[in-house]
């Protein structure tokens, strides 16, 4: 007989909710078994149901049993009980809370003032004010830009256009509240409020609950953070290295035909009176591509460039014939640095401090980079070479010079572009990835899994999606 909460009569409604909640957790990959469910039910019996924090605490202690699980738990808990509340509200036909975030009020909102106001609110805190700010922001941007229909994208758009970042932004005037960077957790809280507000509006508009979507990789955590995330990248990169090292063996079994080594076969046939009894075949050597990597290290990809440098670092260990370049406005070869230095931290510091790639503005100038790269390397490009570009293809209004890029691509055998932005942002704003994608194969690459896809393609050419 399993243990049930002491007052099972009244908790029947909650039990079914708990069951549904656990099912959602499982769908997201949290290993919450029956034992966990029973514990959760027992724990819930001991806390006040009306106390949201206590219920949350009791459930998280019994259902989520690792830091990763906890992260997923937070998101699912938030989503599940938000939806439950909205559902109940809809059923009762009540006005959904938070209606009219300021219809005519929004028109009066001065965008600049709003940015400042929100940044200040984020610095100082107070949950209530955050919620108000989120509503104002949603109202203002709902009018100027319209929604993309995807809540996650809208949240990020709003954050971007408010210019909110956790890193310090030295190019802003010092009295600007955003100049020092917004505290990371406050920013996350704000994003959550905005998300909630957007969902609320959708529900209000359609008078029904949208279907629950599984969590995206975006919510599971991005490789944008600090030490912990960096460690994660290194772990994946180490796996990739192993995969690359064994990829040669994999090919062996797959290729059916191979060339016969006539010389060795004839020599062996001498032992059998000139009859070639034993056939000797040419050894199959895995193709080691010769690689040129260009890596954008400008500020627009700050968070991604650490990721990219880690990738570069790993690639260097795996491919012997590889030359690396970093660029912002100019291009600079860092192959030697990578060969000399084994410590990733030292490399990234050396690159950011004295690679000499930034000129005046610190914005990427793709046209100039292509030109310099061509001049530098033109004679060495050949059809077996692979060119990989790591960058967001944001030109900052400067000429893209896709004709030059086309020349590079034409000389090289294969050309890849890894873009650290989610596909939804491509060609949005000053991103010109489309004009380049004509000449190369583009990959969306901001999680380790996506990186894995790319490495598969690189090491195993037949798995490539048809380019052009």
């Amino acid at each position: 007989m399993p243990r049930v909460p002491a007052d099972s009569q009244t908790s029947a409604g909650f039990d079914s909710n708990l069951l549904a909640f656990t099912r959602e957790l499982r769908a997201e990959g949290v290993a919450a078994g029956t034992a966990e469910l029973l514990d959760a039910a027992a724990a819930i019996g001991h806390v006040q149901w009306s106390d949201r924090a206590a219920v949350h605490g009791a459930l998280s202690a019994t259902l989520a049993k690792s830091p990763e699980d906890l992260r997923i738990f937070e998101v699912v808990f938030e989503r599940f009980f938000f939806r439950k509340a909205e559902e109940t509200a809809l059923q009762r036909g009540e006005e959904v809370a938070g209606k009219d975030p300021g219809g005519e009020q929004a028109q009066r909102i001065d965008l600049e003032a709003l940015k400042q106001q929100i940044a200040t609110a984020l610095q100082e805190g107070g949950e209530g004010s955050l919620r108000d700010m989120a509503r104002l922001a949603v109202a203002a941007f709902g009018q100027t830009q319209g929604g993309s229909g995807v809540v996650g994208v809208d949240v990020q758009r709003i954050r971007r256009s408010l210019g909110l970042r956790s890193e310090p932004q030295p190019d802003l005037p010092p009295e600007d509240a955003r100049a020092e960077g917004v505290p990371r957790d406050r920013l996350r809280e704000f994003e959550r409020e905005v998300r909630r507000e957007l969902e609320r509006q959708t529900i209000e508009r359609t008078r029904s609950l949208p279907p629950a979507r599984p969590l995206g990789d975006l919510q599971r955590g991005l490789p944008t953070g600090q030490a912990a995330d960096l460690a994660e990248i290194h772990k994946v990169v180490a796996q990739l290295r192993r995969k690359l090292a064994t990829s040669g063996q994999l090919l062996k079994g797959q290729r059916q035909s191979s060339a016969i080594d006539v010389r060795r076969t004839v020599r062996a046939s001498l032992q059998t009176g000139g009859v070639p009894v034993v056939l000797h075949q040419r050894p199959k050597r895995p193709k080691r591509p010769e690689i040129f990597v260009l890596c954008d290290v400008s500020t627009s990809v700050t968070s991604a460039s650490i990721f990219f440098l880690a990738v570069l670092h790993a690639l260097h260990d795996s491919f012997r014939k590889m030359r690396s370049f970093v660029f912002i406005e100019r291009i600079s070869e860092v192959t030697e640095l990578f060969d000399r230095e084994r410590d990733f931290k030292k490399i990234s510091r050396a690159i950011t401090s004295d690679a000499g790639v930034a000129d005046v503005s610190g914005y990427t100038d793709y046209g100039r980079v292509w030109l310099e790269f061509l001049k530098l390397i033109e004679s060495e490009l050949h059809p077996r070479a692979t060119v990989i570009v790591l960058g967001d293809a944001r030109t900052n209004g400067r000429p893209a010079r896709e004709d030059l890029f086309g020349q590079i691509a034409a000389r090289a055998g294969r050309t890849f572009w890894l873009n650290p932005e989610p596909k939804l942002y491509w060609n949005y704003g000053d991103s010109v990835i489309d004009s380049y994608s004509e000449y190369c194969t583009t990959f969306e690459c901001w999680t380790a899994a996506q990186l894995g896809d790319f490495v598969d393609a690189l090491a195993n050419p037949r798995h490539l999606p048809p380019s052009k």
Binding site: G33, D39, A43, G57, A61, T62, A64, S66, L70
Partner: protein, 297 residues
């Protein structure tokens, strides 16, 4: 048990009175552990007060603390029980003449000849205790498996004696620094508590509690700096234990502000790796005012 707190809040306030500032989640999970009689698996970075929680709990609940420090190679002879061979030998020699073999055999495998190790001691104790299994991630998986019976049913099976069930219900805390993934079976039997670096206000409160004589301005400056240092990519970021040590060091030095000089002198209290020291001096130390930092470093 009159000593059991009625609510999680009561437990929290009692812990505070004992000098341990628990956040709501910590207090709630500890309280649930007492209520549900389940072990708690406490994880988090080193030095955030996992072990301290167990100590404080034992004081608050007025129970004995039995501590098992885990390490690689720890086996059941040291953790659970062992037969007292010497005593058994003596027993056999003393009575070998006049008693039959069967009687002696029954006799020497009795409780009298059992050496209780921490785990057995915890469950056979007449009074309920707090059992702390510290750094469980340091042991081997086999040891973890051995713990399972104890954790789920609070009993230990001894082949020669039978099953020893617990006389009282201990509160069990297992701590882990997450240096290896624990098995699902173990996790399933436990409540889970993740203690992270505390938020600034909470940490300030802890510092104020531990070093009430430290000027408030210095304390808040200290918290700020520690938070900044944690943001750097260090081998071992400073945790609460280091913050408290630092606060005590500053108090001893009688510092009324943290300037570059004081920071340089006391930095080694919070940062404990050679390479980390360089990083911190480079990134944080130079930002502080107070003169000769630039020329000295």
């Amino acid at each position: 048990m009159s000593n059991t707190p009625k609510t999680a809040e009561e437990l929290a306030s009692r812990l505070t009175a004992d000098g341990y500032l628990a956040d709501t989640q910590t207090a709630l999970v500890a309280w649930l552990a007492i209520k549900l009689g389940k072990p708690v698996l406490v994880e988090g970075p080193a030095g955030v007060g996992k072990t301290e929680l167990a100590k404080s709990l034992s004081r608050v609940l007025d129970r004995d603390l039995i501590r098992l420090q885990c390490y690689e190679g720890l086996d059941e002879a040291k953790a659970l029980y062992e037969w007292n061979y010497r005593k058994q030998l003596l027993r056999i020699q003393a009575e070998s003449a006049d008693s039959g073999w069967d009687k002696v055999q029954d006799d020497i495998f009795g409780e009298e000849f059992l050496l209780e190790r921490p785990l057995l001691e915890a469950i056979t104790s007449e009074e309920p205790v707090v059992l702390l299994v510290d750094e469980i991630d340091k042991t081997d998986q086999e040891f973890e498996a051995m713990l399972l019976e104890l954790l789920s049913d609070f009993q230990v099976s001894i082949p020669e004696l039978g099953t020893m069930t617990s006389r009282s219900h201990p509160v069990v805390l297992l701590t882990s620094n997450n240096s290896r993934e624990l098995t699902e079976a173990l996790k399933r039997r436990c409540l889970y508590l993740w203690i992270d670096y505390p938020e600034a206000e909470h940490e300030l409160a802890i510092i104020r509690l531990k070093t009430p004589d430290l000027p408030a301005a210095v304390a808040s400056r200290l918290i700020e700096l520690v938070a900044e240092i944690r943001g750097l990519d260090l081998k071992k970021p400073p945790s609460i234990a280091e913050s408290i040590d630092w606060a005590r060091a500053l108090l001893l030095l009688g510092a009324d502000d943290i300037d570059a000089k004081v920071f340089r002198e006391t930095m080694s209290v919070i940062v404990k790796h050679r390479s980390d020291l360089d990083t911190v001096a480079e990134r944080v130390g130079v930002k502080l005012d107070g003169g000769d930092a630039a020329s000295a470093s």
